[in-house]
Assembly symmetry: C2
Homo-oligomer: 359 residues x 2
Amino acid sequence: MGRKRLQESADGRPTVHTVAARAGVSIASASRVLNGVGGSPETIRKVREAAAEVGYVPNAIGRSLQSQRTGLVALAVEDIGNPVYVEMMRAIESVVAASGRQLLVHATGGQIANETALLRRLAHRYVDGMIVSPIRVTDDHLAALVDSPVPVVVVGQLGADAPVDNVRTDSRTGVGLAVGHLVAAGRRRIGFVNGPLDTVPGAARDAGFRAALAAHGIDLDERLVEVGDFRYAAGRAATERLLARARPDALVCANDLIAVGALHALLAAGHRVPQDVALVGMDDTELARMMFPQLSSVSLGSAERGRRAAELLLQRIADPTLPPRREQVAPSLAVRASSATGPATGVTLPAPRTPEVTA
Amino acid sequence: MGRKRLQESADGRPTVHTVAARAGVSIASASRVLNGVGGSPETIRKVREAAAEVGYVPNAIGRSLQSQRTGLVALAVEDIGNPVYVEMMRAIESVVAASGRQLLVHATGGQIANETALLRRLAHRYVDGMIVSPIRVTDDHLAALVDSPVPVVVVGQLGADAPVDNVRTDSRTGVGLAVGHLVAAGRRRIGFVNGPLDTVPGAARDAGFRAALAAHGIDLDERLVEVGDFRYAAGRAATERLLARARPDALVCANDLIAVGALHALLAAGHRVPQDVALVGMDDTELARMMFPQLSSVSLGSAERGRRAAELLLQRIADPTLPPRREQVAPSLAVRASSATGPATGVTLPAPRTPEVTA
DNA sequence: CAGACTCCCGGAAACGTTTACAGCAGACAG
DNA sequence: CTGTCTGCTGTAAACGTTTCCGGGAGTCTG
């Protein structure tokens, strides 16, 4: 039989050829029946039967090659352990699922190389589009975004003129909300525990903090500013360093994970929250409500940003010629016990290491 | 020109044909150069140049159709907001990445239909293999697992004779560790806040709890058992219901999210932890260490299970004929402040709603 | 009863890639 | 100078699917 086409795939699984041969019809008819378009009752019966007998299951790759779409959408975030991304993911998922597609998540670990590689590899047609939330953006990175072979939507700040769909918030203003709230509550020695300054959100929040203090006529004591990364352990360690050299009456944290670390450090050092030190986080994730006392937090609308990003992406997939769009979500402040003014809701410690504890 | 093959893909992006034509060589030579195998210096130069000029980027789908592999591995979990899955994912990711593949995560939301659909759709060749951690297993589900077209490894309990690679732990014994520890510390009115009983882990933990109490000769007071789901809010609500009708001196929780909910409920109700009520969670996630007081927790070796599952999967991808294997990871108990015996490490509340507070 | 119309079918092309195979030129040995 | 070997190249098949197109059979209309 020479090099005649075989009827099974390389690993022995049935293909549409197997089904067609078994049903005694052409592959065209088999394919039509399997896709539910056309076919006489008799043909339908024969093909269905044959497919069931051999346990046919279509090969998505073959189908995608033909149809030029996979029905998959990817979300690439830095740290999937950060609840803010979980909330964003849930919002994206619901939009994406409603369009009949599936969402896949990839954690980049904040490695630029990693993320660029993802764009350059995964995006090469395995997915119909992707949403990326980078915390560092380099020129190389940007280039990869711009000429990505599939539609990309970026969640987060991006160079002003980048021709890429973009959903952002204003975290500078967000930090301002926190500072304003604390100042109004009579706090003056306001500290700031931030993430790395070489990240986009880190830099924006630093600028926002300084601007907000200035706007309230408060001189910034640099000893009240500390930097770690955006995770819990670093937040706790950074707060411990800060407390070792300064005595804040309030702390703003660049996200909720850091705020939880700060809360832990404060309580372990014998400070009462909020009586001695008021605490405000950012992102307003479920984590903030899981703490005791519950944490005030600046909402950056992560779910909303995710939802909008997903919508932008679906629109662009439908029509790739759309001009780049940019949307903005306004921040808001959720005040909870950790920065409430009254002392009634606070937590006290018996009397651990530090001297200045109320008897 | 009739129906002659075009040199661009449908959406105008360059293909290997474009590059070949531009370089004045055959597509075979172009492909060889682009893959770094063979080619004369002159050919290499021309092809590289042409590829750069047109911005060629290979179509992964086309390549996969030919090579019968995608280099992608999927992880399907129920709730990506649960830190235990984050830890598992990290472990899997590192193994998978080391093999040069990429990990994609899919959240099923615990919907069986969802999960089965994932198996039946995504698994149809988009990925080289997948790791699934189902919390409910039906026959249909099992069938989908067994004749999945790609290798599958299951993390979690599975019917004893299911011919599927499987990494499990022994959560019954795990609950026993928690109960034993609490009994040794003198606790007797030990409560249990569990997830749904129609889930595999929920059922196993319930059985483990009852068996452990019996083993210590303690009669179970059914009012001390409450059920929600595996998330924070439900854990808190369930604990509130429990506290409204009973007075435990210790609580075992079916996972750390529930334990955090229980901690919140306990503190809000004015109970001291651990003095009044000792608390033990399960999964030993980072969340347990993020609490104040830090939570004792039964480690079910989630990272280890993830690591082993990934290794099993890679082995099976390499050799699909391997017999089904089953591995087990032993639980262990991490004792922290929330169940420490001494009162020194506990947290006290000023004097909220309940009367029995230390002045 | 002829013609138009509808419906179904099979052959073949197409999606973008890799690769087996054969041909060809050049280098080298005898 | 001839024969063999090496290394590169191009043609074409293959991966598994969908779909265009032409042909044939059957149905309805006039």
